[in-house]
């Protein structure tokens, strides 16, 4: 299935065993919750039972009197921070809001909002202490949906949010309004023979990493702090924790533990500054871990949304105009991914007339975090089902419809310069030629759907070091955490450049004191940008090796060639024998000292990613349950370094997208309390729910990148919900416009269609 090739490469494109593998299959790998230190205390967080309430008082005396309780902190123990934006990973954060999400100040804004934190000698005592803290609340009406939040006269969450459009200055729950425009949509729709307009609703969903958040904070009497935690970005934890705590960044060292999944949800900080604050108060290391209920109530989810999408096409299938309106739940503080929803919703298509309006709306739900191609799956659910409907109206195969309108090299983007070389149409062709699409699907209540997804990917900053050891082995030191094969891919890049065996390379992930700044493992950037840094650091080693050889052979460095791990003079002759890395390594001390290759990058020429998917479903018309029969994904990886882990990203993202499409959903009751706070009720796909996910790796190299790598981590999640909706339509004839398409929702739609059919038949009689 994997169409990746090793053309011209020795290591890249092969499938070696990952270097951290043995530790991870034997239980030896240390994740954040696995750390323990002498004298360590355990911290727990008291959370608001109300979605919206004024905090009138917090009394801690009874809790403090419980034997074993060592300290209790509230927002009063943290500096109050200014209303100011600062970059953190894929998203910018407002410092005031950041701090207020760590510990509520004045108001609780969602069910689960942290109110206080306790440190005690055991987690059980800390739990008991939470029950003894007395908080007096004035309960306020919750605002749970974007519709309610946007109504005139709506209850306001954050008085500091102002609407200044049209010269006004009013309180609002709308944190931002973004608009993109091209051409003239009114004119465009006039040219259309068919116009489809639909309104979509998608539910709030969680990233669902299996490892809950964790942190161990150790504050020393000399003012230095160390944080051990599972995070996607150790430098983000350092920077933001320093801001929240009001200490300087250089006083914090973050040691990234192994991370048990993140998908964007482990970019923000939650427990990290609290563990340090409690350590400051007690003088002990303090470990904090969340329960699953805390994870669901108070971390990560991505926005639910309301999206209106109208598209028009001519009879021959050309899409001539599109107008979209998107409103995303930001959660309690601004910062939903509605901007990327707006930028991705039409990105795969070359449409001359476009108008997109997008609204970032605060509601009494947890502050949303990035989730794999943030905002794009919601948007694609809308646009990719409308494109499917247009294809049907025009009588064109849905893949051909996409090929006809799809973007390619040179197509102007709606925002930004024209596309460079991209692989969108290649993914469509790969689906078209896949055994899956080529097969015939027969049987009642079965249908096939396709859809495509776009994601920007990011570049950002990475640092890398490559050390040559005296036995000729190599260590690669990076600051990107390994969330799914990162070490293996980075080691492969170094092995490729240096011509050494993959097993002679040891990759290491360093703490924030031991490597240069490295941005988050997110945005599909790690293999692309950190890989680029490792490539350059390895080249730096090669340059130094050439200098050594040149000195020994009394030549100039440019008279030396380095090939397959061996140095030799460009002009053979004399009695000079080529030298391998293994031969030169033991002699480093005598030829000028150690060799350390170094590089930093601030990668800008990012290649956007495309994926197209195909799913077959069977719907049970009596229950509304959808069974996925077959699923295939084709994705452009630029250059697949380790194809197994590229497939893994494709399969994993697709599995999440299928769960999002069929099942996953936050249930809030009418008081704004989250009712499904466990993994039985927040039901993610199990291996019984999913078929094998077939993969086709497409390789269209990213221009400018030395290896042509394109980020692969995110785009796989974008298209699956829409593909499912299209498949369900082709199975039972109903167009689903709400996510998830769970059995009750689908059954309702089927029954409605049946009733309409019967009414029509009765009228005809």
């Amino acid at each position: 299935m994997a169409a990746s090739s090793t053309n011209g490469f020795r290591v890249i494109g092969t499938r070696p065993i990952r270097h951290d593998g043995v530790d991870k299959v034997t239980g030896r790998a240390k994740y954040g919750a696995d750390y323990a230190f002498p004298g360590m205390l355990h911290g727990k967080v008291l959370r608001s039972p109300h979605p919206h309430a004024r905090i009138k008082s917090i009394k801690v005396d009874k809790a403090l009197a419980l034997p074993g309780v060592k300290a209790i902190v509230t927002a009063a123990d943290l500096p109050e921070l200014p209303d100011k934006m600062e970059a953190a990973g894929e998203q910018a954060v407002n410092l005031n809001h950041l701090s207020m999400n760590i510990l509520a100040r004045g108001k609780a804004l969602y069910d689960g909002h942290p109110i206080a934190a306790v440190a005690a000698t055991s987690p059980h005592i800390a739990d008991e202490a939470l029950r003894l803290i007395e908080v007096e609340y004035e309960v306020l009406p919750p605002v749970m949906t974007v519709e309610d939040a946007m109504k005139p006269g709506a209850t306001i969450l954050l008085p500091s949010l102002r609407n200044k459009e049209d010269g006004a200055d009013k309180e609002t729950n709308v944190a931002a309004h973004i608009q993109f425009k091209r051409g003239d949509v009114a004119e465009g729709f006039k040219q259309a023979d068919y116009v489809i307009e639909r309104e979509f609703k998608t539910a709030m969903v969680h990233q669902g990493y299996i490892e809950p958040h964790n942190a161990v904070g150790i504050y020393n009497a000399d003012g230095h702090a160390t944080i051990y935690c599972s995070t996607q970005g150790s430098f983000v934890v350092r920077g933001l924790s320093a801001v929240v705590l009001g200490i300087s960044e250089g006083k914090i060292k973050v040691v990234p533990a192994e991370i048990g999944g993140g998908f964007g949800g482990k970019i923000p900080i939650y427990l990290e500054p609290l563990s340090v604050l409690l350590s400051m108060k007690t003088g002990h290391p303090v470990k904090m871990t969340m329960t699953r209920a805390e994870v669901l109530r108070a971390t990560g989810p991505t926005s639910g949304s309301t999206i209106r999408c109208k598209m028009g096409a001519t009879k021959d299938g050309k899409i001539v105009a599109a107008q979209c309106w998107l409103a995303y739940e930001a959660g309690a503080f601004p910062g939903s991914p509605v901007g990327s929803g707006a930028m991705t919703i039409l990105a795969p298509y070359n449409i001359p007339n476009v108008l997109v309006d997008a609204y970032d709306v605060v509601v009494n739900r947890p502050k949303t975090a990035a989730y794999r191609a943030p905002g794009a799956s919601n948007a694609a659910m809308a646009s990719e089902t409308v494109v499917d409907e247009l294809a049907e109206k025009c009588g064109i195969d849905p893949l051909d419809m996409r090929l006809l309108n799809g973007v390619e090299e040179g197509t102007p983007q709606i925002v930004g310069p024209p596309f460079k070389r991209i692989g969108f149409k290649e993914t469509l062709e790969a689906i078209k030629n896949s055994p899956h699409y080529q097969s015939r699907l027969t049987g009642a209540n079965r249908g096939r759907g396709v859809a495509s997804g776009f994601w920007f990917n990011v570049g950002l900053q990475s640092s890398a070091m490559v050390n040559l050891h005296t036995d000729g082995t190599v260590s690669v030191v990076i600051g990107s955490v390994d969330i799914g094969g990162t070490r293996a891919a980075q080691a492969m890049i170094a092995a490729e450049v240096l011509g050494v065996d993959i097993n002679d390379v040891r990759p290491t992930i360093a703490d924030t004191d031991s490597i240069g700044h490295t941005d988050v493992t997110a945005g599909s950037r790690t293999c692309f940008a950190t890989g680029w840094a490792v490539y350059e650091a390895a080249q730096d080693c090669v340059r130094q090796l050439k200098e050594r050889a040149a000195r020994q052979w009394e030549k100039k460095p440019d008279e030396i060639v380095f090939e397959n791990g061996t140095l030799s003079p460009a002009q053979p002759g004399g009695d000079i024998k080529p030298m391998s890395i293994k031969q030169i390594a033991p002699r480093l001390a005598r030829t000028g000292g150690p060799i350390v290759g170094r590089a930093t990058v601030n990668a800008r020429s990012v290649g956007p990613a495309f994926a197209s998917v195909c799913v077959d479903v069977e719907v049970d018309p009596d229950t509304g349950k959808t069974q996925i029969l077959r699923a295939t994904i084709a994705q452009d990886a630029g250059k697949a370094i380790h194809p197994s882990y590229v497939e893994g990203q494709m399969q994993g993202g697709m599995a999440q997208g299928l769960g999002w499409g069929l099942n996953e959903e936050y249930f809030y009751d009418d008081r704004g309390i989250l009712r499904n706070t466990g993994l039985l009720d927040y039901r993610m796909p199990t291996c019984l729910d999913l078929p094998e996910i077939e993969t086709a790796i497409v390789e269209v190299p990213t221009p400018g990148h030395p290896l042509g790598i394109r980020g692969v981590g995110e785009v796989s999640i974008v298209a699956p919900p829409a593909a499912l909706a299209n498949a369900i339509y082709h199975a039972v004839g109903v167009r689903m416009t709400e996510l998830p398409m769970s059995p009750p929702r689908l059954l309702k739609a089927i029954l409605k269609k049946r009733a309409a059919g019967e009414a029509q038949a009765a009228a005809a009689d």
Binding site: D34, G678, T686, L690, E692
Partner: protein
């Protein structure tokens, strides 16, 4: 009054005596008392399987059992899966198939798979999926995990492993697989 109870049990082949509070789960005892942190906590409610250990031959969520209930039991944890310095064939096949991304679910999957293969050395793909349905993995989409277990069963029986990257119909999955086998879908 003493709060703690002495528990005598057997872990990974060795007799173990330990002290724990009656309210501590077996998972907490393994991780916090015995420092066997290979068993992971994902939920504490029996829904994710990350804490799976094998007790007297059966896979058990160690978060759903109290430490004091371990008395007299034979417990195998992920730390006891490899035979000394050599990996269990399941561990080897997980590595070869790239069956882990973040790896947090891996110990639980390995223990569930071990319990399966110990009682059914030649499971069908449907049986594998059924037996692993109590373990959640959010990273992989399960495909490579199921392949690894299939491979391990084949290797233990001395059969060759199915070629990587092909989709023989009998390994196509779950209900879909059965339908394929019956010729219901193509």
């Amino acid at each position: 009054m003493a709060n703690k109870v002495i528990v005598e049990t057997n872990i990974n082949g060795d007799p173990v005596e330990l002290l724990c509070e009656p309210r501590q789960s077996l998972l907490e005892v393994l991780r916090d008392v015995l420092e066997l942190t290979g068993s992971k906590e994902g939920c504490l409610t029996g829904d994710c399987g990350a804490c799976t250990v094998v007790i007297d031959g059966r896979p058990v969520c160690s978060c759903l059992m109290l430490g004091v209930e371990a008395t007299g039991k034979k417990i195998t944890t992920i730390e006891g899966l490899a035979a000394g310095a050599s990996l269990h064939v399941l561990q080897q096949k997980f590595l070869e198939n790239a069956s882990l991304q973040c790896g947090i679910c891996t110990p639980g999957f390995l223990m569930s798979a071990k319990a399966l293969l110990d009682r059914n050395p030649n499971p069908t793909e449907a049986e594998i999926r059924y037996s692993l349905a109590g373990n959640l993995c959010r990273c992989t989409g399960y495909d490579k995990i199921v392949r690894a277990v299939t491979d391990a069963a084949a290797a233990m029986a001395g059969r060759g492993r199915p070629a990587h990257g092909t989709v023989p119909s009998e390994t196509a999955s779950g209900m879909a697989g059965e339908m394929l086998a019956k010729g219901e879908v193509k």
